[in-house]
Protein backbone atom coordinates (compact mmCIF):
# COMPACT_ATOMS: atom_id res chain seq x y z
CA UNK A 1 0.00 0.00 0.00
CA UNK A 2 1.45 3.36 -0.89
CA UNK A 3 0.20 6.89 -1.25
CA UNK A 4 1.80 7.28 -4.65
CA UNK A 5 -0.82 7.55 -7.36
CA UNK A 6 -1.74 3.95 -8.19
CA UNK A 7 -4.43 5.11 -10.53
CA UNK A 8 -3.78 5.88 -14.18
CA UNK A 9 -4.17 9.57 -15.00
CA UNK A 10 -7.23 10.67 -16.90
CA UNK A 11 -7.14 11.73 -20.55
CA UNK A 12 -7.86 15.44 -20.93
CA UNK A 13 -11.17 15.83 -22.77
CA UNK A 14 -13.45 18.79 -23.46
CA UNK A 15 -15.99 19.51 -20.73
CA UNK A 16 -19.00 18.76 -22.92
CA UNK A 17 -17.59 15.28 -23.57
CA UNK A 18 -17.35 14.58 -19.85
CA UNK A 19 -20.83 15.99 -19.37
CA UNK A 20 -22.21 13.41 -21.82
CA UNK A 21 -20.16 10.51 -20.46
CA UNK A 22 -20.90 11.35 -16.81
CA UNK A 23 -24.63 11.77 -17.51
CA UNK A 24 -24.70 8.32 -19.06
CA UNK A 25 -22.77 6.85 -16.11
CA UNK A 26 -25.18 8.44 -13.63
CA UNK A 27 -28.16 7.17 -15.64
CA UNK A 28 -26.66 3.68 -15.73
CA UNK A 29 -26.80 3.46 -11.96
CA UNK A 30 -30.57 3.91 -11.99
CA UNK A 31 -30.95 1.35 -14.77
CA UNK A 32 -28.77 -1.15 -12.85
CA UNK A 33 -31.01 -0.59 -9.83
CA UNK A 34 -34.02 -1.49 -11.96
CA UNK A 35 -32.40 -4.79 -12.86
CA UNK A 36 -31.64 -5.50 -9.19
CA UNK A 37 -35.04 -4.39 -7.96
CA UNK A 38 -37.66 -4.85 -10.70
CA UNK A 39 -40.29 -4.54 -7.96
CA UNK A 40 -39.54 -0.78 -7.84
CA UNK A 41 -40.73 -0.51 -11.44
CA UNK A 42 -43.77 -2.65 -10.71
CA UNK A 43 -44.58 -0.34 -7.81
CA UNK A 44 -44.63 2.58 -10.24
CA UNK A 45 -47.01 0.70 -12.51
CA UNK A 46 -49.37 -0.24 -9.70
CA UNK A 47 -51.20 3.10 -9.81
CA UNK A 48 -52.07 3.02 -13.54
CA UNK A 49 -52.92 -0.69 -13.35
CA UNK A 50 -55.26 -0.07 -10.42
CA UNK A 51 -56.69 2.89 -12.32
CA UNK A 52 -57.44 0.62 -15.29
CA UNK A 53 -59.33 -1.74 -12.97
CA UNK A 54 -61.19 0.98 -11.06
CA UNK A 55 -62.02 3.45 -13.81
CA UNK A 56 -62.06 1.00 -16.71
CA UNK A 57 -64.11 -1.79 -15.20
CA UNK A 58 -65.68 -0.73 -11.88
CA UNK A 59 -66.80 2.76 -12.99
CA UNK A 60 -66.32 2.19 -16.73
CA UNK A 61 -69.92 1.64 -17.73
CA UNK A 62 -71.19 4.54 -15.61
CA UNK A 63 -68.51 6.94 -16.90
CA UNK A 64 -69.15 5.74 -20.45
CA UNK A 65 -72.87 6.38 -19.97
CA UNK A 66 -72.12 9.91 -18.77
CA UNK A 67 -70.15 10.43 -21.97
CA UNK A 68 -72.88 8.61 -23.97
CA UNK A 69 -70.43 5.92 -25.16
CA UNK A 70 -70.41 2.18 -24.30
CA UNK A 71 -67.99 0.87 -21.64
CA UNK A 72 -65.57 -0.66 -24.14
CA UNK A 73 -65.35 2.61 -26.03
CA UNK A 74 -64.75 4.40 -22.72
CA UNK A 75 -61.78 2.15 -21.91
CA UNK A 76 -60.24 3.06 -25.23
CA UNK A 77 -60.70 6.70 -24.32
CA UNK A 78 -59.29 6.07 -20.83
CA UNK A 79 -55.98 4.41 -21.70
CA UNK A 80 -54.17 7.45 -23.18
CA UNK A 81 -55.30 9.35 -20.10
CA UNK A 82 -53.68 6.73 -17.88
CA UNK A 83 -50.45 6.87 -19.89
CA UNK A 84 -50.20 10.58 -19.06
CA UNK A 85 -51.31 9.94 -15.48
CA UNK A 86 -48.34 7.58 -15.11
CA UNK A 87 -46.06 10.41 -16.27
CA UNK A 88 -47.53 12.67 -13.57
CA UNK A 89 -47.03 10.13 -10.76
CA UNK A 90 -43.45 9.76 -11.99
CA UNK A 91 -42.81 13.15 -10.34
CA UNK A 92 -43.20 11.42 -6.99
CA UNK A 93 -40.68 8.70 -7.81
CA UNK A 94 -38.09 11.20 -9.00
CA UNK A 95 -38.62 13.45 -5.98
CA UNK A 96 -38.30 10.59 -3.49
CA UNK A 97 -35.24 9.15 -5.16
CA UNK A 98 -33.45 12.53 -5.37
CA UNK A 99 -34.38 13.29 -1.74
CA UNK A 100 -32.90 9.90 -0.74
CA UNK A 101 -29.65 10.77 -2.49
CA UNK A 102 -29.53 14.12 -0.69
CA UNK A 103 -30.26 12.53 2.69
CA UNK A 104 -27.92 9.58 2.18
CA UNK A 105 -24.99 11.77 1.17
CA UNK A 106 -24.70 10.29 -2.32
CA UNK A 107 -25.35 13.70 -3.85
CA UNK A 108 -22.61 15.31 -1.73
CA UNK A 109 -20.19 12.59 -2.70
CA UNK A 110 -20.98 13.09 -6.39
CA UNK A 111 -20.46 16.82 -5.99
CA UNK A 112 -17.08 16.20 -4.37
CA UNK A 113 -15.91 14.17 -7.38
CA UNK A 114 -13.99 15.69 -10.27
CA UNK A 115 -16.99 15.04 -12.54
CA UNK A 116 -19.34 17.36 -14.39
CA UNK A 117 -21.73 18.74 -11.71
CA UNK A 118 -24.62 19.23 -14.17
CA UNK A 119 -24.35 15.56 -15.17
CA UNK A 120 -25.42 14.56 -11.64
CA UNK A 121 -28.92 15.83 -12.45
CA UNK A 122 -28.94 15.33 -16.22
CA UNK A 123 -28.17 11.64 -15.68
CA UNK A 124 -31.12 11.30 -13.35
CA UNK A 125 -33.47 12.78 -15.96
CA UNK A 126 -31.94 10.60 -18.70
CA UNK A 127 -32.65 7.54 -16.54
CA UNK A 128 -36.27 8.67 -16.10
CA UNK A 129 -36.59 9.05 -19.83
CA UNK A 130 -35.26 5.54 -20.49
CA UNK A 131 -37.40 4.03 -17.75
CA UNK A 132 -40.50 5.56 -19.28
CA UNK A 133 -39.97 3.58 -22.47
CA UNK A 134 -40.25 0.36 -20.45
CA UNK A 135 -43.23 1.65 -18.44
CA UNK A 136 -45.18 2.72 -21.52
CA UNK A 137 -44.39 -0.50 -23.37
CA UNK A 138 -45.79 -2.53 -20.44
CA UNK A 139 -48.88 -0.30 -20.11
CA UNK A 140 -49.57 -0.41 -23.84
CA UNK A 141 -49.30 -4.19 -23.81
CA UNK A 142 -51.69 -4.31 -20.88
CA UNK A 143 -54.03 -1.92 -22.70
CA UNK A 144 -54.10 -4.15 -25.75
CA UNK A 145 -55.00 -7.14 -23.59
CA UNK A 146 -58.17 -5.36 -22.42
CA UNK A 147 -59.20 -4.18 -25.87
CA UNK A 148 -57.39 -0.86 -26.25
CA UNK A 149 -55.75 -0.31 -29.64
CA UNK A 150 -54.46 2.48 -31.80
CA UNK A 151 -56.26 3.02 -35.04
CA UNK A 152 -53.81 5.33 -36.75
CA UNK A 153 -50.56 4.25 -38.40
CA UNK A 154 -47.32 3.46 -36.60
CA UNK A 155 -46.22 7.06 -37.24
CA UNK A 156 -49.04 8.42 -35.10
CA UNK A 157 -48.26 5.95 -32.32
CA UNK A 158 -44.58 6.95 -32.33
CA UNK A 159 -45.52 10.64 -32.21
CA UNK A 160 -47.87 9.96 -29.28
CA UNK A 161 -45.10 8.04 -27.52
CA UNK A 162 -42.80 11.02 -28.09
CA UNK A 163 -45.27 13.48 -26.57
CA UNK A 164 -45.64 11.31 -23.47
CA UNK A 165 -41.86 10.99 -23.11
CA UNK A 166 -41.51 14.75 -23.50
CA UNK A 167 -44.02 15.26 -20.68
CA UNK A 168 -42.08 12.81 -18.49
CA UNK A 169 -38.86 14.69 -19.21
CA UNK A 170 -40.46 17.93 -17.99
CA UNK A 171 -41.89 16.18 -14.92
CA UNK A 172 -38.50 14.61 -14.26
CA UNK A 173 -37.05 18.11 -13.82
CA UNK A 174 -39.98 19.07 -11.58
CA UNK A 175 -39.20 15.99 -9.48
CA UNK A 176 -35.47 16.76 -9.37
CA UNK A 177 -36.12 20.34 -8.26
CA UNK A 178 -38.60 19.21 -5.58
CA UNK A 179 -36.20 16.47 -4.44
CA UNK A 180 -33.49 19.09 -3.86
CA UNK A 181 -35.91 21.36 -2.00
CA UNK A 182 -37.82 18.98 0.31
CA UNK A 183 -36.47 18.18 3.75
CA UNK A 184 -36.28 14.44 3.10
CA UNK A 185 -37.84 11.42 1.42
CA UNK A 186 -40.50 11.16 4.17
CA UNK A 187 -41.76 14.65 3.31
CA UNK A 188 -41.88 13.70 -0.37
CA UNK A 189 -43.93 10.60 0.49
CA UNK A 190 -46.24 12.57 2.76
CA UNK A 191 -47.15 14.95 -0.04
CA UNK A 192 -47.42 12.22 -2.68
CA UNK A 193 -51.23 12.53 -2.63
CA UNK A 194 -50.91 16.06 -4.02
CA UNK A 195 -50.20 14.41 -7.36
CA UNK A 196 -53.81 13.19 -7.56
CA UNK A 197 -55.33 16.55 -8.61
CA UNK A 198 -52.48 17.05 -11.09
CA UNK A 199 -53.14 13.59 -12.51
CA UNK A 200 -56.92 13.69 -12.51
CA UNK A 201 -58.13 17.28 -12.73
CA UNK A 202 -57.30 17.08 -16.42
CA UNK A 203 -58.61 15.38 -19.51
CA UNK A 204 -57.36 12.02 -18.18
CA UNK A 205 -60.24 10.01 -16.66
CA UNK A 206 -63.24 12.06 -17.84
CA UNK A 207 -63.37 14.87 -20.40
CA UNK A 208 -63.05 18.30 -18.77
CA UNK A 209 -66.49 19.37 -20.06
CA UNK A 210 -68.07 16.84 -17.68
CA UNK A 211 -66.44 18.62 -14.70
CA UNK A 212 -68.12 21.51 -12.84
CA UNK A 213 -68.11 24.45 -15.23
CA UNK A 214 -65.78 26.59 -13.06
CA UNK A 215 -63.22 23.76 -13.12
CA UNK A 216 -63.41 22.85 -16.80
CA UNK A 217 -61.34 25.82 -17.96
CA UNK A 218 -58.46 25.41 -15.48
CA UNK A 219 -58.51 21.64 -15.97
CA UNK A 220 -58.08 22.04 -19.72
CA UNK A 221 -54.92 24.07 -18.97
CA UNK A 222 -53.46 21.30 -16.82
CA UNK A 223 -50.28 20.27 -18.69
CA UNK A 224 -51.63 16.71 -18.85
CA UNK A 225 -54.76 17.71 -20.77
CA UNK A 226 -53.04 18.81 -23.97
CA UNK A 227 -50.82 15.72 -24.01
CA UNK A 228 -53.79 13.41 -23.42
CA UNK A 229 -55.97 15.05 -26.08
CA UNK A 230 -53.10 15.07 -28.59
CA UNK A 231 -52.15 11.43 -27.93
CA UNK A 232 -55.82 10.35 -28.11
CA UNK A 233 -56.02 11.98 -31.54
CA UNK A 234 -52.76 10.36 -32.66
CA UNK A 235 -53.84 6.91 -31.41
CA UNK A 236 -57.32 7.42 -32.90
CA UNK A 237 -58.99 7.04 -29.48
CA UNK A 238 -60.79 10.39 -29.28
CA UNK A 239 -64.39 10.16 -28.06
CA UNK A 240 -65.55 13.32 -29.81
CA UNK A 241 -64.42 16.66 -31.23
CA UNK A 242 -62.38 18.96 -28.92
CA UNK A 243 -64.44 21.27 -26.74
CA UNK A 244 -61.82 23.75 -25.49
CA UNK A 245 -59.18 26.06 -26.93
CA UNK A 246 -56.48 23.75 -25.57
CA UNK A 247 -58.26 20.80 -27.21
CA UNK A 248 -58.21 22.52 -30.57
CA UNK A 249 -54.50 23.30 -30.29
CA UNK A 250 -53.56 20.17 -28.35
CA UNK A 251 -50.42 19.20 -30.30
CA UNK A 252 -48.96 22.69 -29.98
CA UNK A 253 -49.74 22.98 -26.26
CA UNK A 254 -48.50 19.42 -25.66
CA UNK A 255 -45.08 20.54 -26.88
CA UNK A 256 -45.16 24.03 -25.36
CA UNK A 257 -46.02 23.00 -21.77
CA UNK A 258 -43.12 20.53 -21.32
CA UNK A 259 -40.70 22.97 -22.93
CA UNK A 260 -41.79 25.77 -20.56
CA UNK A 261 -41.69 23.47 -17.51
CA UNK A 262 -38.25 22.13 -18.39
CA UNK A 263 -36.89 25.58 -19.18
CA UNK A 264 -38.07 26.76 -15.74
CA UNK A 265 -37.20 23.82 -13.52
CA UNK A 266 -33.85 22.76 -15.05
CA UNK A 267 -31.99 26.05 -14.37
CA UNK A 268 -33.58 26.32 -10.92
CA UNK A 269 -32.46 22.78 -10.05
CA UNK A 270 -28.93 23.41 -11.32
CA UNK A 271 -28.73 26.66 -9.38
CA UNK A 272 -29.97 24.89 -6.27
CA UNK A 273 -27.31 22.21 -6.71
CA UNK A 274 -24.60 24.85 -7.06
CA UNK A 275 -25.79 26.87 -4.11
CA UNK A 276 -26.60 23.97 -1.85
CA UNK A 277 -26.13 26.18 1.23
CA UNK A 278 -27.89 23.81 3.55
Amino acid sequence: MSAAPEVPPVMPRPEIWWFAVDSWTVARRHLMRLLHRPDELLGTLLIPVMAVVMFGFVFGDALGAAMTVPGGRYREFLLPGLFALTMAFGIGNTTISVAEDVRGGVLDRLRSLPMSPAAVLAGRSLADLLTVVVELAILMGLGRSIGWQWHGGIGGAVAAFGLLALLRLAFSWVGILLGLLVSGPEAAMKYFALLFPLAMVADTVIPTDLMPSWLAGPASWNPLSATVIATRALFGNAAGPPTSWVGEHAALVAVAWPVVITATCMPLALARLRRSAR
Binding site: A3, M32, A277
Partner: protein, 257 residues
Protein backbone atom coordinates in the same frame (compact mmCIF):
# COMPACT_ATOMS: atom_id res chain seq x y z
CA UNK B 1 0.37 7.06 18.10
CA UNK B 2 3.33 9.37 18.18
CA UNK B 3 2.86 13.08 18.29
CA UNK B 4 4.24 14.99 15.38
CA UNK B 5 4.52 18.74 15.49
CA UNK B 6 4.21 20.87 12.39
CA UNK B 7 7.67 21.77 11.20
CA UNK B 8 7.81 25.34 9.87
CA UNK B 9 9.07 24.11 6.51
CA UNK B 10 6.16 21.70 5.94
CA UNK B 11 3.25 23.13 4.00
CA UNK B 12 0.02 22.14 5.71
CA UNK B 13 -2.22 19.73 3.81
CA UNK B 14 -5.21 21.66 5.13
CA UNK B 15 -5.12 25.34 5.95
CA UNK B 16 -7.96 27.60 7.08
CA UNK B 17 -7.27 31.21 7.92
CA UNK B 18 -9.86 33.44 9.55
CA UNK B 19 -12.70 31.37 8.08
CA UNK B 20 -16.10 32.95 8.52
CA UNK B 21 -19.49 31.61 7.57
CA UNK B 22 -22.91 33.10 8.19
CA UNK B 23 -26.16 31.29 7.68
CA UNK B 24 -29.44 33.13 7.91
CA UNK B 25 -27.85 35.97 9.89
CA UNK B 26 -26.32 33.56 12.41
CA UNK B 27 -22.56 33.14 12.69
CA UNK B 28 -21.66 29.49 12.11
CA UNK B 29 -17.90 29.87 11.79
CA UNK B 30 -16.35 32.84 13.54
CA UNK B 31 -12.79 33.34 12.35
CA UNK B 32 -11.63 29.74 12.40
CA UNK B 33 -7.92 28.96 12.01
CA UNK B 34 -6.79 25.42 11.33
CA UNK B 35 -3.59 23.86 10.01
CA UNK B 36 -3.17 20.13 9.47
CA UNK B 37 0.26 18.70 8.69
CA UNK B 38 0.53 16.25 5.79
CA UNK B 39 0.28 12.58 6.69
CA UNK B 40 -1.30 13.16 10.10
CA UNK B 41 -4.68 12.28 11.54
CA UNK B 42 -6.35 15.40 12.86
CA UNK B 43 -9.48 15.31 14.96
CA UNK B 44 -12.10 18.03 15.03
CA UNK B 45 -13.97 17.76 18.31
CA UNK B 46 -16.94 19.74 19.41
CA UNK B 47 -20.45 19.64 20.75
CA UNK B 48 -23.45 19.35 18.45
CA UNK B 49 -23.93 22.47 16.39
CA UNK B 50 -20.35 23.66 16.88
CA UNK B 51 -19.82 23.77 13.11
CA UNK B 52 -17.79 20.58 12.56
CA UNK B 53 -19.75 19.38 9.55
CA UNK B 54 -19.76 22.88 8.07
CA UNK B 55 -15.95 22.95 8.22
CA UNK B 56 -15.73 19.61 6.44
CA UNK B 57 -18.25 20.64 3.79
CA UNK B 58 -16.36 23.85 3.09
CA UNK B 59 -13.04 22.01 2.83
CA UNK B 60 -14.60 19.48 0.46
CA UNK B 61 -15.88 22.30 -1.83
CA UNK B 62 -19.50 21.44 -0.99
CA UNK B 63 -20.34 24.69 0.71
CA UNK B 64 -19.35 28.31 0.26
CA UNK B 65 -18.08 30.62 2.98
CA UNK B 66 -18.18 34.35 3.53
CA UNK B 67 -14.57 35.27 4.16
CA UNK B 68 -11.17 33.81 4.91
CA UNK B 69 -8.68 31.68 3.05
CA UNK B 70 -8.94 27.91 2.63
CA UNK B 71 -6.37 25.65 0.98
CA UNK B 72 -6.56 21.88 0.66
CA UNK B 73 -3.73 19.77 -0.79
CA UNK B 74 -2.12 22.90 -2.16
CA UNK B 75 -5.25 24.14 -3.98
CA UNK B 76 -7.41 27.11 -3.10
CA UNK B 77 -10.98 25.82 -2.62
CA UNK B 78 -12.56 28.94 -4.11
CA UNK B 79 -10.27 29.45 -7.09
CA UNK B 80 -9.53 25.82 -7.91
CA UNK B 81 -12.36 23.60 -6.62
CA UNK B 82 -11.68 21.07 -9.40
CA UNK B 83 -8.07 20.77 -8.22
CA UNK B 84 -9.28 20.12 -4.68
CA UNK B 85 -11.84 17.54 -5.84
CA UNK B 86 -9.16 15.64 -7.73
CA UNK B 87 -7.12 15.27 -4.52
CA UNK B 88 -9.65 14.59 -1.78
CA UNK B 89 -11.90 11.83 -0.59
CA UNK B 90 -14.94 12.21 1.61
CA UNK B 91 -16.68 9.64 3.77
CA UNK B 92 -18.73 9.74 6.87
CA UNK B 93 -21.63 8.77 9.02
CA UNK B 94 -24.07 8.40 6.14
CA UNK B 95 -21.99 5.89 4.14
CA UNK B 96 -22.94 7.50 0.84
CA UNK B 97 -23.25 4.40 -1.30
CA UNK B 98 -26.11 2.85 -3.25
CA UNK B 99 -27.93 0.35 -1.03
CA UNK B 100 -29.41 -1.65 -3.88
CA UNK B 101 -26.20 -2.25 -5.82
CA UNK B 102 -23.43 -4.60 -4.74
CA UNK B 103 -20.24 -3.36 -3.14
CA UNK B 104 -18.33 -4.11 -6.32
CA UNK B 105 -20.89 -2.32 -8.52
CA UNK B 106 -20.68 0.72 -6.23
CA UNK B 107 -16.89 0.86 -6.49
CA UNK B 108 -16.88 0.37 -10.26
CA UNK B 109 -19.58 2.99 -10.71
CA UNK B 110 -17.79 5.61 -8.61
CA UNK B 111 -14.52 4.75 -10.38
CA UNK B 112 -16.21 5.50 -13.71
CA UNK B 113 -17.27 8.88 -12.31
CA UNK B 114 -13.61 9.41 -11.41
CA UNK B 115 -13.12 8.99 -15.18
CA UNK B 116 -11.31 5.67 -15.09
CA UNK B 117 -11.80 3.49 -18.14
CA UNK B 118 -14.02 0.43 -17.75
CA UNK B 119 -11.12 -2.00 -17.41
CA UNK B 120 -9.17 0.22 -15.02
CA UNK B 121 -12.34 0.74 -12.97
CA UNK B 122 -12.86 -3.02 -12.61
CA UNK B 123 -9.25 -3.52 -11.57
CA UNK B 124 -9.38 -0.64 -9.09
CA UNK B 125 -12.59 -1.98 -7.56
CA UNK B 126 -11.00 -5.42 -7.12
CA UNK B 127 -7.89 -3.84 -5.48
CA UNK B 128 -9.95 -1.80 -3.05
CA UNK B 129 -12.23 -4.70 -2.13
CA UNK B 130 -9.11 -6.61 -1.16
CA UNK B 131 -7.51 -3.74 0.68
CA UNK B 132 -10.62 -3.02 2.75
CA UNK B 133 -11.30 -6.70 3.40
CA UNK B 134 -14.57 -6.86 1.48
CA UNK B 135 -13.82 -9.58 -1.07
CA UNK B 136 -16.26 -12.05 0.49
CA UNK B 137 -19.13 -9.57 0.40
CA UNK B 138 -18.21 -7.96 -2.91
CA UNK B 139 -21.14 -9.33 -4.88
CA UNK B 140 -23.82 -8.90 -2.25
CA UNK B 141 -26.14 -5.86 -2.25
CA UNK B 142 -24.96 -3.23 0.22
CA UNK B 143 -28.26 -3.29 2.13
CA UNK B 144 -27.22 -6.71 3.48
CA UNK B 145 -23.90 -5.35 4.81
CA UNK B 146 -23.18 -4.78 8.49
CA UNK B 147 -22.58 -1.23 9.68
CA UNK B 148 -18.82 -1.72 9.74
CA UNK B 149 -18.72 -3.24 6.26
CA UNK B 150 -20.78 -0.39 4.91
CA UNK B 151 -18.45 2.18 6.45
CA UNK B 152 -15.41 0.31 5.06
CA UNK B 153 -16.98 0.33 1.61
CA UNK B 154 -17.58 4.05 2.04
CA UNK B 155 -13.88 4.49 2.87
CA UNK B 156 -12.90 2.38 -0.14
CA UNK B 157 -15.04 4.57 -2.42
CA UNK B 158 -13.39 7.68 -1.03
CA UNK B 159 -9.95 6.21 -1.80
CA UNK B 160 -10.62 5.38 -5.47
CA UNK B 161 -8.17 7.99 -6.67
CA UNK B 162 -5.79 7.55 -3.71
CA UNK B 163 -6.90 10.78 -2.10
CA UNK B 164 -4.13 12.88 -0.56
CA UNK B 165 -6.56 14.32 1.95
CA UNK B 166 -9.45 12.36 3.38
CA UNK B 167 -12.39 13.91 5.24
CA UNK B 168 -14.28 11.66 7.61
CA UNK B 169 -17.40 13.17 9.11
CA UNK B 170 -18.21 11.16 12.25
CA UNK B 171 -16.88 7.91 10.80
CA UNK B 172 -18.00 5.71 13.67
CA UNK B 173 -21.31 7.25 14.69
CA UNK B 174 -23.88 4.51 15.12
CA UNK B 175 -21.39 1.62 14.95
CA UNK B 176 -20.99 -1.17 17.47
CA UNK B 177 -17.55 -1.44 19.14
CA UNK B 178 -16.35 -4.20 16.80
CA UNK B 179 -17.30 -2.27 13.67
CA UNK B 180 -15.75 0.85 15.15
CA UNK B 181 -12.48 -1.04 15.60
CA UNK B 182 -12.60 -2.13 11.96
CA UNK B 183 -13.03 1.43 10.78
CA UNK B 184 -10.24 2.64 13.06
CA UNK B 185 -7.88 0.02 11.65
CA UNK B 186 -8.72 1.12 8.12
CA UNK B 187 -8.09 4.78 9.00
CA UNK B 188 -4.76 3.92 10.68
CA UNK B 189 -3.64 2.06 7.58
CA UNK B 190 -4.51 4.96 5.32
CA UNK B 191 -2.61 7.38 7.54
CA UNK B 192 0.39 5.05 7.67
CA UNK B 193 0.43 5.14 3.86
CA UNK B 194 0.67 8.93 3.90
CA UNK B 195 -2.92 10.10 3.57
CA UNK B 196 -3.82 13.17 5.59
CA UNK B 197 -7.02 12.53 7.52
CA UNK B 198 -9.32 15.11 9.04
CA UNK B 199 -12.08 13.51 11.08
CA UNK B 200 -14.91 14.98 13.09
CA UNK B 201 -16.09 13.04 16.08
CA UNK B 202 -18.09 13.22 19.26
CA UNK B 203 -16.28 10.24 20.75
CA UNK B 204 -13.33 11.40 22.77
CA UNK B 205 -11.98 7.88 22.89
CA UNK B 206 -11.87 7.91 19.12
CA UNK B 207 -9.85 11.12 19.13
CA UNK B 208 -7.55 9.69 21.79
CA UNK B 209 -6.99 6.46 19.84
CA UNK B 210 -6.66 7.76 16.32
CA UNK B 211 -5.55 11.37 16.23
CA UNK B 212 -2.09 12.91 16.25
CA UNK B 213 -3.62 16.26 16.97
CA UNK B 214 -7.00 17.47 18.09
CA UNK B 215 -8.74 20.81 17.63
CA UNK B 216 -11.68 21.58 19.84
CA UNK B 217 -14.34 23.57 18.05
CA UNK B 218 -16.96 25.53 19.93
CA UNK B 219 -19.37 28.12 18.57
CA UNK B 220 -17.49 28.41 15.31
CA UNK B 221 -14.01 28.92 16.79
CA UNK B 222 -11.09 26.70 17.68
CA UNK B 223 -10.88 26.92 21.47
CA UNK B 224 -8.01 24.50 21.96
CA UNK B 225 -5.47 22.75 19.81
CA UNK B 226 -2.83 20.14 20.57
CA UNK B 227 -2.06 16.46 20.90
CA UNK B 228 -4.52 14.39 22.95
CA UNK B 229 -1.81 14.10 25.64
CA UNK B 230 -1.34 17.87 25.78
CA UNK B 231 -5.07 18.50 26.10
CA UNK B 232 -5.35 15.90 28.84
CA UNK B 233 -2.41 17.37 30.72
CA UNK B 234 -3.88 20.84 30.48
CA UNK B 235 -7.19 19.65 31.90
CA UNK B 236 -5.46 17.53 34.52
CA UNK B 237 -7.56 14.49 33.67
CA UNK B 238 -9.11 12.68 30.76
CA UNK B 239 -10.01 14.05 27.36
CA UNK B 240 -13.60 14.16 28.61
CA UNK B 241 -12.54 16.62 31.33
CA UNK B 242 -10.72 18.74 28.77
CA UNK B 243 -13.74 18.69 26.47
CA UNK B 244 -16.18 19.67 29.20
CA UNK B 245 -13.94 22.45 30.52
CA UNK B 246 -13.41 23.90 27.07
CA UNK B 247 -16.96 23.75 25.79
CA UNK B 248 -18.97 24.35 28.97
CA UNK B 249 -21.13 27.44 29.13
CA UNK B 250 -18.63 30.19 29.78
CA UNK B 251 -19.13 33.42 31.62
CA UNK B 252 -18.15 36.61 29.77
CA UNK B 253 -15.05 37.02 31.96
CA UNK B 254 -13.54 33.68 30.86
CA UNK B 255 -11.71 33.77 27.60
CA UNK B 256 -12.06 30.81 25.27
CA UNK B 257 -9.07 28.54 24.92
Amino acid sequence: MTTRSIAPSTRPAILCEDLRKLRGGRTVLDGLDLAVAPGTVHGLLGPNGAGKTTVVRILATLQRFDSGRVRVAGCDVTRDPAGVRARIGIAGQYAAVDEVLTGRANLEWFARLHHLRAKAARRRAADLLERFDLVGAADRPVRHYSGGMRRRLDLAVSMIRSAQVLFLDEPSTGLDPRSRGEVWDAVRELAAAGTTVLLTTQYLQEADQLCDRVSVLDRGRIVADGSPAQLKARAGGTLDDAFLQLTAVRGPERRAG
